[in-house]
């Protein structure tokens, strides 16, 4: 697929591009993932949003231990570890960090950035009672403060019209990702799991205009060309859990090797980000607050999220014709660990095959994970036939 190759090339050149843009006066705003930071706001302030989505390697986790407790989740450890190692350019080329306080792991990571750098760290309060009116009001006011902060850092005013244009741009980006994702409801897969996950990850780092243009062409390409892979005899898997970092490909590799395909990713850097769009009528900040806090799939750190998350998973199982659910969790991610217990019970009651896998981004994980994934996929394949 040519378009995907083009994106890979663009991604390789992106750090150099960011360096150039910064030298020309553009500001780069890094942010933690989870889909609680509206990129539209950053974009409309004339800054470049860059999401901290790298992870999956043990070096960054290990490096963080100089100041991080070993019982913090490896993804959060890595978000500080990359800065310690100094080998990941996205963690160096920043003018400001936006830190949504979603869980304690990331809350303390924000503290670490404050403690060890001179970077401006702005915390975004995320009300955990996400469905409440008070929570929405608080989040709305938080976004107003965030807008002011961005205006101060960039020196640009966020005009209503500019914000509307940015929202439209990101809506288009989300819409395209969703359309491409939905192609995977078919038996034969138009796009491989690795390619789709790559598109998703690239959308957090590359210029949104470039992404939209490329995805647009790619979608046409995918619709006209034949399937990338025949689904015959392969198990269709829903991947769910906290996050799937850029660089954490172990699980996808093992699923592929074992004869399965992940057909939908219900993770922080997956479907939760592109499934719903932002309304553009009325107060734009209110629209952003509604979309980013409420009109979305809740994460496990939210209050009373287990039940709606389960319902969402069940609907995806049906829509994407899923054979089994793979709960991929990071070690010491406490809220997902609790929720997993509940989800496993309920999915079992519904007759949906389920497996929980855990990783600490260590290479030694691979052997045990391989054995378990092979056995799981074998059981799914037998069940199908």
């Amino acid at each position: 697929m040519l378009k995907i190759e083009e994106l890979r090339n663009s991604l390789r050149k992106r750090p150099g591009e960011l360096k150039r843009l910064r030298s020309e006066g553009k500001k780069v705003v890094g942010y933690f993932p989870g889909d609680y930071v509206p990129e539209e706001l950053i974009h409309s302030a004339g800054a470049i949003p860059i999401c901290f989505i790298h992870g999956g390697d043990p070096e960054s986790v290990e490096a963080a231990h100089v100041l991080v407790s070993r019982f913090v989740c490896p993804f959060a450890r890595a978000q500080f570890g990359y800065r310690v190692i100094g080998e990941q350019p996205y963690y160096e080329l920043l003018d400001m960090l936006a830190a949504p306080i979603t869980c304690q792991n990331l809350r303390r990571t924000a503290d670490l950035w404050n403690h060890t750098t001179n970077l401006d760290v702005f915390r975004i309060g995320v009300p955990h009672a996400y469905n409440s009116e008070d929570g929405l009001k608080y989040f709305y006011n938080t976004l107003i403060r965030f807008r002011e902060k961005l205006e101060q850092v960039t020196g640009n005013r966020v005009e209503e019209e500019k914000l509307k244009n940015s929202i439209n741009l990101y809506n288009r980006l989300r819409g395209l990702l969703r359309e491409i994702s939905l192609l995977r409801t078919a038996q034969d897969l138009a796009i491989s799991m690795r390619d789709f996950v790559f598109l998703n990850h690239a959308s957090y780092l590359l210029d949104p205009d470039l992404m939209v243009n490329t995805l647009d062409s790619l979608l046409n390409e995918l619709k006209t060309e034949g399937p990338a892979r025949s689904g015959d005899g392969r198990a269709r898997i829903l991947l769910t859990g906290p996050c799937l970092a850029l660089g954490d490909m172990k699980i996808l590799d093992l699923v592929d090797e074992s004869g399965g395909d992940v057909v939908v990713e219900e993770v922080c850097e997956g479907l939760r980000c592109y499934w719903e769009n932002v309304d553009v009528k009325g107060d734009q900040i209110q629209n952003l607050a509604v979309r980013y806090l409420q009109k979305r799939w809740p994460a496990a750190f939210m209050r009373m999220s287990a039940q709606p998350r389960l319902e969402n998973i069940l609907s995806l199982v049906e829509d994407f014709r899923v054979d089994g659910v793979l709960w991929y969790q990071l070690k010491y991610c406490e809220t997902y660990d609790f929720e997993c217990f509940y989800a496993a019970r309920k999915l079992e009651e519904k007759g949906v095959p389920f497996i929980k896998l855990e990783s600490e981004y260590d290479v030694s994980d691979r052997g045990p994970l391989k054995t378990r994934i092979e056995a799981f996929i074998e059981s799914l394949t037998k069940r199908r036939s």
Partner: protein, 472 residues
């Protein structure tokens, strides 16, 4: 078999005669055997300072509260529980103040850990029950939450009508309570907070946080009212809170005395008990005895200071302890003193700014004119555990200088994502500022099984040596 034990807990003869039937019934429900009672006596004598009558009285309050908790299912119509990290016992406590005959309000997790755990040494089965359920071993789940779950699974304490869950500080507590709701059908009401204060936002707690918090507490009170079936009045909350504040002041005097005395006149393993009564709250009949015990303890300690009597020799190095000591294993603190160093301060007791033993609410005579919810919010936000980390660093450095400590032990609860990394940041900041020995020590303040005294001994010995060498 109970009389000797109860005598150690400050019960007078007539009190034993009167209260024994209920206590006996409660202990039977807890499956405490004669061997357990004997073990309790031995542990009380070994780890705690029973020469202090004030401490005996405080242990007595714990036994009475444990009895009230265990029998609440048969004696009360409604049961309300508080959980860690609670901001106050007084929201649910107000319901008990208004209708003591019908409502039980308490905080079982700490109460059981500090009695069944620290006194009787009998809590392992509770953790094991939780681990067989959703709180898997090896996942670094918090022992306090495991206690809550395990007790419900085993029926150690009655099933509550409502849990007031404080989702303002950690992720584990509200999530565990969500499972208690989904799997055991327990009604949960949350008090939430967005911990989004930036490092330059202080010294005053910001208005958006205070407003959000106050609103969350008011909503919780409405939910509690609905559960108990009558409206909880602000007067009742105020009355409870004023009692708590008075007790807080009494405790502050004790802590200040310990901070400036050499040798320190009592162990922090003991001090945990009067201190925790602040969060546990007590039944209406134990409110006055709680104050009397604290005042008695203060007088006894003043006497000891006058005599130069303490838990170490005079002149022993003085250290600052961050976080909490173990709630279940008093032998660890005992070991620290035996190794020749004295803990003179708990960092958690010093409020920002300026390391005060009490948050600044203005004139104490005017407390009753303040909004109780605002008092609670500000008190919490000015405590070192809840303030912005940058201010906690400033407070810690200032405290080390002010109280001239010889070293700092950063003891943190291993499964606490909130504390673990912050301890490392604090240590790093302190090392850059002051040249005194420090140690970050990983432990478990709720579960006694893994980080035992012997497990920690080598590291604490090394710390003790560092402090002694540095001082010489």
């Amino acid at each position: 078999m109970y009389k000797d034990f109860l005598g150690l807990c400050g019960f007078e003869k007539e009190e034993i005669d009167k209260e024994l039937p209920r206590i006996e019934r409660a202990f039977q429900k807890l499956h405490l055997t004669s061997d357990d009672i004997k073990n309790g006596e031995e542990r009380l004598k070994e780890y705690f300072d029973l020469e202090l009558k004030g401490m005996q009285k405080i242990f007595g309050i714990y036994i009475r509260e444990l009895t009230n908790l265990v029998l609440a299912g048969e004696e009360k119509e409604k049961i309300l529980y508080n959980v860690m990290p609670t901001l106050s016992p007084d929201l649910i406590g107000a319901a008990m103040l208004m209708r003591p005959e019908a409502v039980y309000a308490g905080f079982p997790d700490f109460l059981v850990l500090m009695t069944l755990g620290a006194i009787f040494g009998k809590v392992d089965h509770i953790f094991e029950a939780a681990e067989r359920h959703c709180s898997a071993p090896g996942a670094a789940h918090c022992g306090c939450c495991q206690t809550r779950l395990g007790m419900q699974l085993l029926g150690t304490v009655p099933k509550p009508d409502l849990i007031l869950s404080w989702g303002h500080y950690c992720d584990e507590v509200p999530k565990m309570d969500e499972l208690l709701n989904l799997l055991l059908g327990i009604h949960i009401t949350y008090v939430n907070r967005c911990q989004d204060e930036n490092w330059d936002e202080f010294p005053e707690p910001n208005q958006r946080t205070v407003d959000f918090y106050v609103n969350e507490m008011r909503k919780a009170v409405r939910d509690i009212s609905q559960t108990v079936g009558f409206e909880i009045s602000e007067d009742a909350i105020n009355e409870g809170l004023m009692g708590t504040l008075q007790y807080f002041v009494a405790l502050g005097k004790i802590k200040e005395l310990l901070a400036v005395s050499d040798p320190v006149p009592m162990s922090f393993a003991d001090l945990m008990y009067p201190t925790s009564l602040l969060l546990l709250g007590v039944s209406p009949e134990n409110r006055a005895p709680r104050m009397e015990a604290a005042n008695l303890l203060y007088e006894e300690l003043k006497e000891r200071v006058k005599e130069g009597k303490g838990v170490t020799e005079k002149g022993a190095p003085r250290i600052f302890h961050t976080g909490f000591p173990s709630f279940v294993d008093p032998s660890i603190i005992k070991m620290i003193y035996e190794l020749g160093i004295q803990i003179s301060l708990l960092e958690g007791d010093l409020y920002v700014p300026n390391c005060r033993f009490m948050p600044d609410f203005g004139d104490a005579d005017d407390y009753d004119k303040l909004d109780p919810f605002v008092i609670l919010t500000k008190a919490f936000l000015m405590s070192p555990v809840a303030t912005v980390t940058s201010k906690r660093i400033d407070n810690l450095i200032e405290a080390c200088k002010k109280f001239e400590v010889d070293g700092v032990l950063f003891y943190y609860h291993f499964s606490c994502r909130t504390y673990g990394t912050e301890s490392q940041i604090l240590r790093d900041a302190l090392k850059k500022e002051l040249n005194i020995p420090t140690m970050v020590l990983e432990g478990d303040i709720f579960d006694p099984r893994y980080y035992t005294q012997e497990q920690l001994r080598t590291r604490i010995e090394a710390f003790s040596e560092m402090v002694q060498v540095s001082r010489s």
